[in-house]
């Protein structure tokens, strides 16, 4: 995430931005092609591989019975983790999750949790245990905009996950109680031009980015600005509107407007 970029490339991207153009020929609000494949990992209760252009993440969802948190005995548990493994980028290093990985994981987690994507109250078990849902995001190829890819992967993996009831003697297997469809849309602002789905180069030269997570009705479920740059109130308002409507479009394209696609 601290990739360096040649000054000539930086200038080039800024020059293009002035004419509302992008280095890879996309429109400012256009995503790279999004591909979602589910169920690649048989051992996981849910899984999804998401490609956004060359960016690639693999999300595995493991579900198992366990103890609830003492202060919320009647709700299931979501635990989200992101691994920025060194095979995904020359700038990733082995070791425990750094602040970028933790931020990524927590924003993905917030999207799922705060939108109410999973009805956690339906995850209790008769013996006082609850279902623990582990969302593990494995970044395979970092070519920009990991946030949206990770959030999309988490949602897709959850939608297609099954609770392994049989294995633990709780009756027949069943899908998760999915109630919402949070989609993350990330934007950068280059010289007043708002670009969605920033490529690695765009992300690297932009001094800040804003991720907006919105649900089925367009309402906001989460937001995160990251980077050392600043955004004006007007820019933020513009990005939020744009992101909310883009999220609708992405959801329609991928899930046909519903969460049970």
């Amino acid at each position: 995430m601290n990739d360096v970029i040649a000054e000539i490339k930086r200038d080039y991207i800024y020059e293009l931005a002035k004419r509302s153009e992008r280095a890879d020929g996309r429109a400012l609000d256009e995503y790279r092609p999004i591909q979602v494949e589910v169920g690649l990992i048989g051992k996981a209760e849910g899984s999804a591989r998401v490609k956004v252009g060359n960016t690639q993440v693999l999300v595995g969802v493991k579900i198992q019975p366990g103890e609830p948190f003492p202060d919320t005995p009647d709700t299931g548990v979501i635990i989200t983790n992101v691994e920025l493994v060194p095979l995904a980028s020359p700038s990733f290093e082995p070791g425990p999750p750094d602040e970028n990985a933790i931020e990524l994981a927590r924003v993905v987690d917030r999207g799922v949790r705060e939108s109410g994507a999973i009805d956690l109250s339906e995850l209790t078990l008769p013996d006082g245990k609850v279902w623990l849902i582990f969302i593990d995001v494995h970044v395979l190829d970092h070519d920009g905009n990991l946030m949206d890819a990770a959030a999309l992967g988490a949602l897709a993996a959850l939608v297609h996950a099954t609770k392994p009831c049989e294995r633990y003697g709780y009756g027949p297997d069943a899908p998760l109680p999915i109630k919402e469809s949070p989609i993350a849309v990330t934007a950068v602002d280059l010289d007043g031009e708002i670009m969605l789905d920033p490529s690695l180069d765009e992300e690297t030269i932009a001094s800040s980015k804003l991720t907006v997570i919105s649900g089925l009705q367009g309402a906001l479920a989460g937001m995160q600005k990251s980077g050392t740059g600043t955004l004006s109130v007007e820019e933020i308002a513009r990005i939020v509107k744009l992101a909310s409507s883009k999220a609708m479009q992405i959801r329609d394209d991928l899930f046909g407007g519903s969460t049970d696609g």
């Binding site: 970028n100 001094s207 367009g218 906001l220 479920a221 995160q224 600005k225 600043t230």
Partner: protein
């Protein structure tokens, strides 16, 4: 839980009213700059060291100072004792707080050095990251670190479908949305923005407007606190 009664909140505030805030500039002896803030039930100490030499040295930058920010909660700062040391939440908060402050610091003046900001949450009552940023910003000024402006921060949110300023613990825990914002009030540049919960687009716009007002009031208090300490000392 009922949050709004006769237009007032559970602690008797209006929706657009901040909690009582008190800044104390230079509260610590050894630090180069410091600030203690009480913000409602929050009690927070911020200290700034530097510009000083960077250790480990490979972190140093040839053309500018680096900024480090450590947000840390004391184990006794919350109801249930928390395990000392950084957890994932505090790593994230440290990152976004650093990035909230970073844009106003003129780092080019101090190549190969570091400016270390330490924020200790001694007692927590919602909005600790915002109050920490407010204190850190004042502590930086107290340390004489050259800045383009002061960063001011507050949280806005939603309870009982009402957009409110500066949430207390109960509103934060059981309310509908929480959105911390930090900005340089003079330029209107937003340096921190996070949100979780549920906001319609209209509510979001209201919330953003409200945060501007909140930050502006806090900026006044920060400036007054600094003036209180430094008035008459211009010639020293």
């Amino acid at each position: 839980m009922e949050f709004m009664k006769n237009g007032k909140r559970i602690d008797d505030r209006l929706p657009n009213e901040l909690r009582p805030i008190k800044f104390e500039v230079g509260a610590l002896e050894r630090a180069d700059g410091s600030c203690y803030v009480e913000h409602g039930g929050n009690k927070i100490m911020a200290a700034v060291y530097g510009p000083r030499a960077v250790h480990p040295r490979h972190l140093q930058q040839a053309n500018r100072a680096i900024i480090r920010y450590r947000y840390n909660m004391a184990s006794f700062s919350v109801e249930e004792r928390r395990r000392p040391g950084p957890d994932r939440r505090s790593v994230e908060i440290s990152k976004v707080s650093r990035q909230a402050i970073d844009p106003v610091i003129i780092k080019e003046f101090y190549p190969r050095s570091t400016i270390d900001i330490f924020v200790e949450i001694l007692q927590a009552d919602a909005g600790t990251r915002s109050a920490g940023i407010n204190a850190a910003s004042v502590a930086l000024a107290d340390a004489g670190v050259p800045m383009r402006g002061l960063i001011s921060s507050c949280a806005v949110g939603k309870v009982d479908d009402t957009v409110v300023l500066d949430l207390v613990k109960e509103e934060d825990n059981y309310g509908q949305a929480d959105m911390p914002v930090a900005m340089d009030v003079r330029t209107g540049e937003v340096t921190l923005l996070q949100m979780d919960g549920h906001l319609t687009l209209d509510e979001f716009e209201q919330a953003l407007e409200l945060s501007k007002i909140g930050c502006a009031s806090i900026a006044d208090m920060q400036r007054e606190a600094l003036i209180r300490k430094y008035r008459g000392k211009e010639d020293e």
